[in-house]
Amino acid sequence: MSRHTAHNESTRRSRRLAVGAAFAGLGLAITGIGVYAGLTATASNTSAQTVSSGNISLTMAASTGSVGFGQSITNLAPGDVVNRFVTLTNGGSLAAKDLTLAVSDATPTLLSTSGTKGLKVAVDSCSIAWVVAANSGTCAGTTTNLLASTFLSSLSSAATLVSGTVGASYNVRMSLTLPDQNETTSNGTLPGTTIQGLSAALTWTFSESQRDATTTNN
């Protein structure tokens, strides 16, 4: 019996020691955390700062009275001139620079590839809207030439129409012409490398870039 009592007493001591050690460890851990956390202080703006990115947007639409690019041009004879009128609008929140024009042809022929016989285009801008009516297109404001008559073959890479800051909008006249040239057909046979009976599927692309990036200190 006394042996059993001694054994129980030993077990209780072991448990007390274990519990004591656990509390001691926990106390050390808590103390340690307090030491490493130290003191912190923060400062933040009381009202959130709003930051927004700008955008640039260029749109093109047929001018009043004009069919624009939406209508095909057919059966051109050498020397013919077809004027189409479109309005370019720079509608983004950022200023834009360097307005350019490029032309691509989905079905290339001499019309778009020849630098001597092919189509040419000239671009003019009117300070106010063109008046297009009864096969007449007039500018009552100031006309500015943006691109001298240029073969489409030279516009596969973009040509600059406006260098520097681009205005809010442009009233544009696109003058397309098939240069006058002489070809003679005999008994219905077209000459080699003829300009006759060809077709082009043109894509006119106007582009602009964002204004130069700035650094602001305020």
């Binding site: 955008n55 640039i56 947007s57 260029l58 093109m60 004009s66 069919v67 624009g68 690019f69 209508q71 095909s72 041009i73 057919t74 059966n75 051109l76 004879a77 050498p78 020397g79 013919d80 001139v81 077809v82 004027n83 189409r84 720079n90 983004g92 834009a96 989905a106 019309l111 297009v132 096969n135 007449s136 297109g137 397309l176 098939l178 006058d180 002489n182 070809e183 003679t184 057909t185 005999s186 008994n187 219905g188 046979t189 300009i195 006759q196 009976g197 060809l198 077709s199 082009a200 599927a201 043109l202 894509t203 006119w204 692309t205 106007f206 582009s207 602009e208 870039s209 964002q210 990036a213």
Partner: protein
């Protein structure tokens, strides 16, 4: 998805991700902002062509003036014309004159008569061949696309050796309608 177990694989994957992000950043930096507007348009050029139903007209040997023959001349181009050039080469033996004539009315191709008045477009002999003549006279050429005219080819005298008239119809730019300016 297969897990990356080894440190080497993790490192490689991290490198790939970092390189990709770096490339994307570089692209954005160089691209900047740009706006564009584009539209497509179809453009076709016209053509100017005149053809004949026959370009070689043969008159067989005969003791009297040959029986006239008829040809149809058509505007097979897409543009209106202001005129046409006729050229003939006359080969064979005949003292007659070969001629191509138009009728202001309608040819009776059996009686070889014209319901209106006739006009000679071109004529010649074996001695004067080849002959070329340009006409701007209405009715002597097909003015508009798909137009056709009927012409008489004749020889005025007996034919000793078969007479062959070779016809060439040509149209140059100057015989096509004038250039126009359109604003629409």
């Amino acid at each position: 998805m297969r897990q990356l177990k080894t440190p080497v694989r993790r490192a490689a994957a991290t490198a790939v991700v970092l390189l990709t992000m770096s490339a994307l950043n570089a692209h954005l930096a160089y691209a900047g902002g740009a706006g564009s507007a584009a539209q497509t348009q179809t453009i076709t050029s016209g053509s100017w062509k005149v053809t004949s139903s026959s370009t070689i007209i043969t008159f067989p040997t005969s003791l009297s003036p040959s029986t006239p023959q008829y040809i149809t001349v058509s505007n097979t181009g897409t543009l209106s014309l202001l005129g046409t050039t006729y050229s003939i080469i006359i080969a064979g033996v005949s003292t007659g004159t070969a001629a191509i004539k138009a009728c202001s009315g309608t040819w009776n191709e059996t009686a070889h008569t014209c319901s209106g008045s006739t006009s000679t477009i071109i004529s010649g002999t074996t001695a004067t061949s080849p002959v070329t003549s340009s006409t701007t006279t209405s009715g002597q050429y097909p003015a508009n696309p798909t137009n056709t005219i009927r012409l008489q080819v004749s020889n005025s005298a007996a034919v000793v050796v078969a007479l062959v008239v070779t016809l060439t119809l040509s149209v140059s730019r100057t015989q096509v309608r004038a250039a126009t300016t359109t604003n629409d």
